[in-house]
Symmetry: C2
Subunit: 265 residues, 2 copies
């Protein structure tokens, strides 16, 4: 494996099994042919979120596309953390940033939510999906986080699944520290009790929203220390703390195969 | 206090004591007069990293400047975490981002370091200082992190102070999880043993650099889970985990006074 030169690592919607040849989508073909300038027989890693991770070889290059022949499985599918992040959309680049970093930090589902103080009125789901896909390709995940349709806060909490704890970082000082809440949560219940975070907009939640959240049995307000974090910082800090205390940070990256793949952007 | 409308929260180099009047610098005067359009008697919060946090009132507005009369102390000076972050400068906006977020996450000193694979050849210290200052103003800190002169990795480790642990996130899987390293570090030694992190460039450390780091008694390689994090994500994730496990996240924000200050940018 150490001698393999991987030209790219790509998410695909196709089923993956040895011997078949798949066609990359238009963007991927452009990236492979024009950016990475792949040659016949060069190798590309593929994953689809279901069938594990596979090595493929470039075949039948034409002007605008190529085939990718699936060779051997590199890793079986590994489930990701079952960790949701609901967030009020932020100013454009901050939302992009939040989606990229949340993907790197192992979120399984991203749920954009409109709150009273949310300034943004549109969510470009396709753009966010593209950012999440590229981050997943880059960070060695074997899945891409799902991106839910944008909804109002009321709908989010009405439809929140039974048994999933919703942790709400609280800059007013009303919550226990996130670490102690997580440690209690792990001790009390089955460790597999799934969690989600809810991150408010730049202007914070309205008082009525905080009141409504406090009435819900599955909601815990949590503290992220004495400084007032920006919304995107709070999201990343909370996710990092979760993975370190209750998530998958006990695991190491897989053995480094000595290959390096470039980001698509 | 609940009725106070604070127009801004600013870092100043001046000494702060009741009764004196200070003059904001040119940028601050522009911000107060042209952006925030302050009026006589309106209130501005000031801190200088030494004398605590003070309420001041706007006086003697002229076309280009104003005076700020120091009124009463709001909080005595509180020491920040003694936490260093050494980092290889990243592509421009990522370095800006890292400095802003590290400030929010309570770093006391930022140390830019050139490594073998660092692509950047210049560090704009003034720009980074301005970003750190604004982040400190915004996140309710009472100090601004120091920014050291850029140095080579060899000089950093040669001059590293005795008794300060240097934690190096390691994406090759060679380190124990950061949480367990921190917990051991807290148990074994005095909790006040200070720490620093070293974050490599986008391309990672060279093998010779990792070898040199491994030979140092104060260095521990640490793991941040199974995914390969981008350099700036690794920095924030490591700092968040530190503050949650060994830092000041047991503290809450001060009582929310119901005032809101806008970021300067």
């Amino acid at each position: 494996m150490n001698d393999i030169k991987i030209k790219a690592r790509l998410f695909t919607v196709h089923d993956l099994e040895a011997g078949i040849t798949i066609t990359p989508n238009t963007d991927q073909a452009h990236y492979l042919l024009k950016v990475m300038r792949v040659q016949d027989s060069e190798q590309v890693v593929l994953f689809n979120g279901r069938d594990g991770e596979w090595l493929s070889a470039v075949r039948t290059i034409s002007k605008k596309s190529c085939g990718l022949e699936i060779m051997e499985q590199l890793r079986p599918q590994i489930p990701e953390s079952d960790l949701w992040l609901a967030f009020a959309p932020l100013k454009k680049s901050n939302t992009d940033f939040l989606v990229e970093k949340a993907t790197e930090l192992g979120v399984s589902r991203l749920l954009p939510v409109f709150t009273e103080n949310t300034n943004t009125t549109r969510v470009k789901s396709e753009r966010l999906a593209a950012i999440a896909t590229e981050a997943a390709e880059q960070c060695d995940r074997m899945s891409v986080p799902e991106i839910s349709r944008v909804q109002n806060l009321t709908d989010l909490i009405t439809g929140w699944p039974a048994g999933r704890t919703l942790l709400v970082p609280d800059e007013t000082g009303g919550g226990q520290s996130l670490k102690s809440v997580l440690e209690t949560s792990i001790e009390d219940r089955d460790k597999k009790n799934p969690h989600g975070f809810l991150i408010g907009p730049e202007g914070g939640f309205a008082a009525s929203e905080l009141d409504a959240l406090d009435k819900l049995p599955f909601v815990s307000r949590v503290g992220l220390g004495p400084r007032i974090l920006r919304a995107e910082t709070a999201a990343l800090a909370a996710l990092s703390c979760f993975q370190a205390v209750a998530g998958d940070w006990q695991q190491a990256p897989r053995f480094n195969n000595g290959y390096f793949f470039n980001a698509r952007k």
